[in-house]
Structures are given as structure tokens and as C-alpha cells.
Amino acid sequence: MINQSILMADDDADDRFLVQAAFEDNNIPHHILFFEDGEQLLNHLSTTSGDNAPSFILLDLNMPKRDGREVLKVLKSDKHLRSIPIIIFSTSKAPDDVNSSYFLGANSYVVKPSSYEHLKDVIQKISDFWLNTAMIPS
């Protein structure tokens, strides 16, 4: 098991299941932690120390309690947490959502694919880029 983890916040259990399956099918060894809403994610991040910050966060936009936009705002204004790469992972294709996410500091925006094959491919690409291609803060 690799030390650094990947976090995902999504209220949809099916989506969490499918994403986990995609990570497994792609043989990505990272530990993935799932959260059901923004509040859980923020609570988790507030208790972790700087040493084991996650490699990246997959963040859904529409969630109960604190939604993705709010979480994004909080994270990007926190001086310790703002360096964690955040990938918005949402069903919405609306230009408003895309633009406002980047405006708030999202590192990329990916629309949830509509087939599993496609999802597996997208997860492979995301991991490949953020874990192997891009340099991320350690």
C-alpha cells in the first residue's frame, strides 16, 4: 500500500462503488477514502496532518449539507490545504458550473462518463496524469 491516499466526496453510493471498481480494475494501488458529503470531507482534512495530505481529491458538485462549490471555496482559501489538487467530478456539463469551478480554483473539471468502460478509461487517465505525469506537492 502506498502512503498517499486519494479522496473522493460524492453523495451517490453507486458512483462511489463504480469509481472504486474502476480504480481496482485499473490496478491503482493507492488507498481511496470515500465521503458522502462535503462536511465529512472537510472534517477528515481538518484532522489529518500536513504529512499525509492526499494526492488529489475527486469532488462532486451537487451534494447535501456542504456542496462541492463550498468545499472548493474553503479548501482553496486554506493556506495548508490549498495546494491539494482538486478534480471536479460531476454530471453537469453546464458552462456555468465549469467556469465557476475553475474560477474558484479547481485544478481540472471532468464530466462523469455515462458508461463504465468510459469511466474506467477516465479514472486511468486521471490517475496516470496526477500520479505519474504531473508533479504534485509532497
Binding site: 453507486d14 453537469s92 462523469k112
Partner: protein, 480 residues
């Protein structure tokens, strides 16, 4: 929908009739009032004239009476003087004669009609004669008192007096008669003036009250109409915002479960393909296919609903450029199918550019898609400016406008004329999905685009003989 447009038509006809009725009534009333006022004026002038004449005659009669009285006084004093030789009588005679002169002058100026005036002159002459003949008696005290001479003189004087008396009587009679006539005329005109007063008042009253009633009725009707319109606008706004909400729901909530269906069937296939029997695999395939089709439908529905509120502004669009852009977009298909597109010079107009491109692209790709097998598609685009009256089923309010008429004619498979209206309905298709792919949104979008621009789109076709689409866009755009 049809009912309301019929009501609107009736209403507009009603209004036209009403406007002309009001104009007609107004014109008639104005003419009547002017004519009546003119007659009233003339009659009033006559009345004033006759009143003046009556005054004049009255004055003449008074002067005539004064003259008569002075004349008889003179004669009375003359006779008394002859008998008594009293100096007082003599003074009175001279006094009276002095006063008679201006009275006679006045009579002369008052009585102007020649025959009567001649009589006045005669009277004057008679009086002068009488004076000439008799004045020596009271101016010269030494004059003979011979009785015979005196009698002769008195007889001569009597004749003259008699003559003067006759003239005075004649004048009196004539003037009295004149007075009577003139008074009658005056009273006559007075009565007419009185009648005219009433008639004018009545006409004005009828005109004013009918205008008031019409105006009042129209204002109240307009008010009702406005309220009705406001309600409709409110309903329209509500349904528009509901449609927008619906678009959001379609884009997000409907796609969510769909995505799950696809993802899980995908994963099922991926993970357990080897355990599944052939018929299970076919079923899974069907599930996937249906889900994909639903995805297409939702996307189309979304595209269609986004046309309701364009969210951007209309601008000057050169349709030739639009056509070029569309040819570019479709270049692969055009090449593949050997399609030929011939276009006349097209106009520039105020429009939503993206929507115009959508319109042209849908029409042209439709023509290419529904071409005859083995025949390369040929699309002819022609243009001319037409009056609104040429467009079938046009709204009455649009009849007087001018329209750009753009015709798309192809040599494709066409369609039966009975479907000319149906093909514009969303998701309506004339062919099975195995024959031609697609959801049936293209022409619905075309119609939506055209109605966004307050225009008309009409399809004409015959099975096997190609289709023709007519687009009518108003020359003076009124899109906000």
C-alpha cells in the same frame, strides 16, 4: 390556440368597424354642427337686421308724430293770432316753425324709399308754401286786416293744410304697415333662432354623449383586454421558467439514473461476460442501446428547450455567410454523398446567428439525409421579398408586413402532403429508425427558430418528388 387566434381576428375586425363607425359619426356630427352654426349665423344676422329696421321705423313714427304735432300747433297758434293778435301766439308760431325744420330734415333722412321720400319732399314743399303764403300775417303787424282778403287767405291755407294732412296720414299709414311687416319678420326670425339653438344643442348633446359612451366602453374593454394580456404574459413567463427548470432536471436528474443503467450493464458485461449465455448478452445489448437512445433524446430535448430563452442578443446576420459556415460544417457529408448546393444571393437580416446556423444546417442535412438512393442530393436555395398576404395562414396583424422568403428545394424522397404539418412536431418521424437514424428533433428546432424570429416555415412535398421548405422572416425584425 386556434380558438384564441379566431377571437383575436374577430376582435380586430370589430375594432376596424368600430374605428370607421366612430370616424363616420364624428365627421357627420362635425359637418352637421358647422352647417347648423352657419345657418344660425345667417338667421341671426337677419334677426339683427330686422330688429334694426323695426327700431328705425319706430323712430320714424315718433318723428312723424312729433312733426305732425308741431305742424298742428303752428296752425293752431296761427289761427289764434289772426283772431286775437296776441304776441305770445306769434312767438309760439316762430318757435314751432324753427323746431319743425330739423324734424323735417330728419324725416327726409329716415324715410329713404323713393316713393315715400317723394311724399316727404311734397310735405316739406306744402309746408314751405303755407309759410310763404301766410308768414306776412305774423311778421308784419301793419299788414291789412281786410276781412275779405283774410278769408281768401284762410281758404287757400286750408287747402294746403288739408294737403299736408293727407300726406302725413299717408306716411303714417305706410310706416305703420312697414312697422307691422318688419315686426312680423323679426318675430319670425326670433323663433327660428330659438329653434336653431335647441337643434344645435341637441345635436351636440347627442354627439357628445355617444362619443362618451363609445369611449367609455372602449376604455373598459381595453382595460379587460390588458388584464387578460397581463395574465397571459404571466402564464407565459411561468411556463417559460418551468421549462427552464425542466431543462435543468432533464440535464441532471434524468441523466443520473440513465448513466447508472449504462455503467452497471457495462460493468456486468465486462466482468461476467463469460458466465452469461447468448440471449442474456443480447438482452444486455438491448438495455445499452435503449439507454443510449434515451441519452440522445434527452440531449435533443435539452437543445430544444434551450431555444426558448436564447440569452443572447440578435445581430445583423449575413445568410450567405451562414450558408458557407453550414457547408463547412457538413463538408464531410456533402463530399461523401456528392451533394450539390446551389444558392441565390441571400439577404442580411437581424437575427440570432447561432439559431440561423442551426436552421440552415438542419434543413440542408435533412435534405442530404432523405435523399434517394443512387441519386446525389441536389439542394436549390432561392430567395425573394414577398408581402405577408402571400403567406398561407398568416396572422392578420402580419398581413401588411414584408417578408424574406427563402426556399429550400431538394430532389430527395419527399413526403406525402398530409404530413406537411406533422413533420415539425418534436420527436415525430415518418420513417423507422432502421431506415433513417435520428430522434425527430431537427424540424421542430427549425420551427422553434423561425417562431423565435416571428417568421413562418412551411413544408411542401410529394412522395418521391422531393421536398420544399419555405421560410418567411419579417423584413422589419421585431425580436427583442
Amino acid at each position: 390556440m386556434n380558438l384564441t387566434s379566431l377571437q383575436l381576428l374577430n376582435r380586430s375586425l370589430d375594432e376596424r368597424q368600430l374605428i370607421w363607425t366612430i370616424r363616420f359619426l364624428f365627421g357627420i356630427s362635425i359637418l352637421l354642427i358647422i352647417a347648423l352654426s352657419y345657418s344660425y349665423h345667417t338667421i341671426n344676422q337677419e334677426l339683427i337686421h330686422y330688429s334694426e329696421r323695426v327700431d328705425h321705423t319706430q323712430r320714424t313714427l315718433i318723428i312723424l308724430e312729433k312733426t305732425t304735432s308741431k305742424f298742428y300747433q303752428t296752425i293752431y297758434h296761427g289761427r289764434t293770432y289772426l283772431l286775437l293778435r296776441d304776441e305770445a301766439n306769434k312767438r309760439a308760431i316762430l318757435e314751432n316753425i324753427r323746431e319743425l325744420n330739423p324734424l323735417m330734415d330728419e324725416l327726409d333722412s329716415l324715410i329713404t324709399p323713393p316713393p315715400l321720400n317723394r311724399r316727404v319732399k311734397e310735405l316739406d314743399a306744402t309746408m314751405d308754401q303755407l309759410y310763404e303764403r301766410t308768414h306776412v300775417y305774423w311778421t308784419d303787424s301793419t299788414y291789412s286786416t281786410n276781412r275779405q282778403e283774410q278769408e281768401a287767405l284762410l281758404r287757400e291755407a286750408s287747402v294746403l293744410i288739408e294737403q299736408a294732412n293727407r300726406i302725413i296720414n299717408d306716411l303714417n299709414k305706410a310706416e305703420t304697415k312697414l312697422m307691422h311687416n318688419r315686426m312680423q319678420s323679426r318675430d319670425n326670425y326670433k323663433q327660428q333662432v330659438y329653434r336653431y339653438n335647441w337643434v344645435i344643442m341637441l345635436v351636440a348633446l347627442v354627439f357628445l354623449s355617444s362619443s362618451f359612451i363609445l369611449l367609455d366602453r372602449e376604455l373598459r374593454r381595453n382595460n379587460l383586454y390588458r388584464i387578460e394580456l397581463e395574465n397571459k404574459v404571466e402564464n407565459l413567463n411561468r411556463s417559460n421558467s418551468e421549462l427552464e427548470q425542466f431543462a435543468y432536471v432533464a440535464s441532471h436528474d434524468l441523466q443520473e439514473p440513465l448513466r447508472k443503467i449504462q455503467s452497471f450493464s457495462d460493468r456486468l458485461l465486462l466482468k461476467h461476460r463469460h458466465q452469461l449465455k447468448d440471449d442474456a448478452l443480447i438482452m444486455l445489448d438491448k438495455i445499452n442501446e435503449s439507454a443510449q437512445r434515451m441519452q440522445l433524446l434527452i440531449n435533443d430535448l435539452l437543445a430544444f428547450s434551450r431555444l426558448v430563452n436564447p440569452g443572447y442578443k440578435a445581430q445583423q446576420v449575413d445568410l450567405n455567410e451562414v450558408l458557407e459556415e453550414v457547408k463547412n460544417n457538413l463538408s464531410e457529408t456533402i463530399k461523401e454523398q456528392n451533394a450539390v448546393i446551389i444558392s441565390a444571393e441571400l439577404p442580411s437580416l437581424e437575427a440570432y446567428p447561432v439559431q440561423m446556423t442551426q436552421l440552415f444546417q438542419n434543413l440542408i442535412s435533412n435534405s442530404i439525409k432523405y435523399s434517394k438512393p443512387e441519386v446525389s442530393p441536389r439542394i436549390a436555395i432561392s430567395y425573394r421579398l414577398v408581402g405577408g398576404a402571400e403567406i398561407p395562414d398568416i396572422k392578420p396583424a402580419h398581413k401588411d408586413l414584408q417578408f424574406h422568403r427563402i426556399e429550400f428545394a431538394d430532389n430527395g424522397i419527399g413526403f406525402s402532403p398530409e404530413y406537411a404539418e406533422k413533420i415539425f412536431v418534436i420527436f415525430q418521424r415518418l420513417h423507422g429508425r432502421d431506415e433513417f437514424e435520428g430522434t425527430g428533433i431537427g424540424l421542430a428546432i427549425c420551427r422553434r427558430v423561425i417562431s423565435n424570429h416571428n417568421g413562418y416555415i412551411i413544408a411542401e412535398g410529394q412522395e418521391g418528388k422531393g421536398a420544399r421548405f419555405f421560410i418567411y422572416l419579417p423584413l422589419q425584425p421585431f425580436i427583442s
